[in-house]
């Protein structure tokens, strides 16, 4: 019971210096705010990225010249690698464990015009009919590219919702002609929208038959060369584990490229898992930055609290002496000042939590992320504030508690 009385005492003294208290806890406010905001952001990112990565299909394997990943890439080595070919794709398709295979080449189209309207940054891909199934595209109007289009190398295209919205806001795009880098294409279908990812549309896509692509477009140079290189999207049969499929594909490709057993792969086999790894690496960096910022801020905040508490102890020396004369024990005084610094820190933590949630809300509204602060971050925010309050409050409080009553009473 006495404990609560002393807690109340600590609260009253804290109320008296509101502005000073607020300034003191600024470090803690920033530290806790950082944690809450960044954790919320990462949670939101996790949700979006996971949704995105899963939309690739957990089963789908991407065979390309390059390996996905971060870090240094040896471009000379990549350039020496043999191009993947349609024969490779056909050979893989013949493996009994494979359901279907979709070879593709792609290209960035900077600008598309229709009459006086334009869109920019369109991802164009030359594909085969199987691609719709593997990559989960559904036709909204018209039809998808079929094998007849491929065989006859027809100048036809299927467009995504973003292009429809911008070039054909109030007319039917089917049958209209699009000029793509000087070549004329007829629109035969539109795609069901996939929505946006991190505020970026995913419907800025345009598909043409792979054969038409090869006939009409040459590599763009630079990264464009890489995109122009054939990529093979592979879907193993449903009951085949992805790892096993990867092993079989690797085996086949090494044989086709006649690689000795001591030579590394000269192709890249990429999956959803590869992307997850990359993403984890990115968030790991964000977490480390967060922890560093939070730790420094909490340290600064803690020193601020220690400073203000030392000032408080000095200012209130006479009060401490008096309390001791009236019967306060060493422990009573210790608790009073310790609780005061804990309350200070907790108040800072509370403000930090509010600010953090506020930042998360703002990001949620502007970047279309579900950046909700999980409940445990709030607990962590309060927990760390309390720890800082105790850790940096213990020295001033014990100094107060050890004061000699007579010297304290005489203090002017």
């Amino acid at each position: 019971m006495l404990f609560w009385e002393i807690a109340k005492l600590a609260l009253t003294t804290f109320r008296i210096n509101r502005l000073r208290s607020f300034l003191t806890t600024l470090g803690i406010i920033i530290g806790v705010m950082t944690v809450i905001a960044i954790v919320s952001l990462i949670q939101g990112m996790n949700y979006e990225v996971e949704r995105q990565i899963s939309s690739l299909g957990s089963h789908v394997i991407y065979l390309q010249k390059i390996n996905w990943g971060m870090g240094r890439i040896d471009w000379d080595e990549i350039n020496r690698r043999p191009d993947l070919t349609l024969d490779d794709a056909n050979a893989i398709a013949r493996l009994p464990i494979i359901e279907r295979v979709a070879p593709l080449r792609s290209r960035m189209v900077n600008r598309l015009n229709y009459r006086n309207r334009k869109v920019t940054s369109i991802e164009m891909a030359g594909i085969t009919p199987a691609y719709a199934t593997i990559a989960n595209y559904t036709i909204e109007t018209g039809r998808f590219i079929n094998s007849d289009d491929s065989m006859r190398k027809r100048p036809v295209c299927v467009i995504g919702g973003y292009i429809v919205d911008n070039l054909f806001p109030d007319e039917d795009p089917l049958g209209k002609r699009l000029n793509i880098e000087g070549k004329s294409f007829i629109i035969i279908g539109t795609l069901v929208r996939k929505g946006s990812f991190l505020g970026q549309t995913q419907d800025n896509v345009l598909f043409i038959p792979l054969t038409t692509f090869e006939k009409s477009f040459k590599p763009q140079g630079g990264f464009g060369t890489l995109a122009h290189d054939l990529a093979i999207v592979i879907e193993p049969k449903k009951n085949v584990p992805v790892d096993q499929a990867i092993d079989r594909i690797r085996e086949l490709m090494r044989r086709r490229h006649a690689l000795g057993y001591d030579k590394p792969d000269d192709f890249g086999i990429n999956t959803q898992e590869t992307l997850r790894e990359i993403y984890k690496n990115i968030t790991r960096v964000a977490f480390i930055v967060m922890i560093a910022v939070a730790a420094i801020s909490l340290l600064v905040g803690g020193i601020g609290i220690m400073n203000i508490m030392l000032v408080a102890v000095a200012e209130r020396t006479r009060e401490i002496g008096l309390r001791k004369a009236l019967g306060a024990t060493t422990r009573n005084i210790l608790y009073q000042f310790l609780l005061e610094s804990v309350f200070l820190a907790l108040a800072g933590g509370a403000v930090g939590i509010l600010f953090g949630i506020g930042i998360a809300k703002i990001v949620e509204l502007t970047a279309h992320l579900r950046a909700a602060a999980p409940f445990w971050t709030i607990l962590i925010g309060f927990g760390f504030s309390a720890l800082v309050g105790i850790f940096f409050g213990i020295y001033p409080a014990s100094r107060a508690a050890r004061l000699d009553p007579i010297q304290a009473l005489r203090y002017e």
Partner: protein, 222 residues
């Protein structure tokens, strides 16, 4: 024997030399006595009072309170003594300025672990007794000097202590207010409380039934 001190000295280090504030004092005070410790400033009377009130410890010599050797007591036991057995009244009142009169009087009871309702009841009773029944919720910095000293006296009485120790209780008051305050001490003594006054003022000391004169840390007259 309530209070017994034997050959008590108190030496304060002061730079390289030392000040001998008390120089071999022996003294006994019985329960219910009304005592004045008198002497000029620097005579050691305040130091003696601090030692009697367990705020300070003697350099050498023994202090027995209720038969117990206070040098053998722990910090917590000394705090308990100050809380329950002694009531202090200071020259400069020593109230907590931001707290109400009630809250100031409740303070010793708070450290004694008395419940909230009982504290409030007792504090109201004591403040009414010292004539501040209409000032209960005034903050102490809104009170006059005489009123502050009355609050301090009510506070000293809060835990019904065995001894009331007052250090120049009228020193910061005008003479009329001072005599009103002294009247309160007289009443307390009449009611059987042990009261020890520290003063340099003969008119104050004359209220007491026993006067002990100190000079240079020694008892010169009893």
């Amino acid at each position: 024997m309530l209070i017994k001190i034997e050959q008590v000295t108190k030496i304060y280090p002061l730079g390289k030399s030392a000040v001998r504030a008390l120089d071999g004092i022996s003294l006994t005070i019985e329960k219910g006595e009304y005592v004045a410790l008198m002497g000029p400033s620097g005579s050691g009377k305040s130091t003696l009072m601090h030692i009697l009130g367990c705020l300070d410890t003697p350099t050498t010599g023994k202090y027995f309170f209720n038969g117990a050797d206070t040098s053998q007591l722990s910090d917590n036991e000394l705090a308990r003594l100050r809380n329950k057995e002694f009531g202090f009244v200071f020259q400069n009142f020593n109230l907590l300025p931001r707290l109400s009169a009630l809250a100031n009087v409740e303070l010793p009871m708070l450290y004694a672990g008395v419940g909230r309702k009982e504290r409030r009841r007792r504090a109201t009773e004591l403040l009414t007794m010292v004539g501040l029944g209409d000032r209960l919720n005034h903050r102490s910095n809104e009170l006059s000097g005489g009123e502050m000293q009355r609050v301090a006296i009510a506070r000293a009485l809060a835990n019904s202590p065995a001894v009331i120790l007052a250090d120049e209780p009228t020193g910061n008051l005008d003479s009329r207010t001072g005599s009103e305050i002294m009247h309160l001490f007289d009443t307390m003594a009449q009611e059987g409380n042990t009261v020890i006054l520290v003063t340099h003022d003969k008119t104050v000391a004359d209220h007491a039934r026993r006067t002990i004169k100190l000079k240079d840390g020694k008892i010169v007259e009893e």
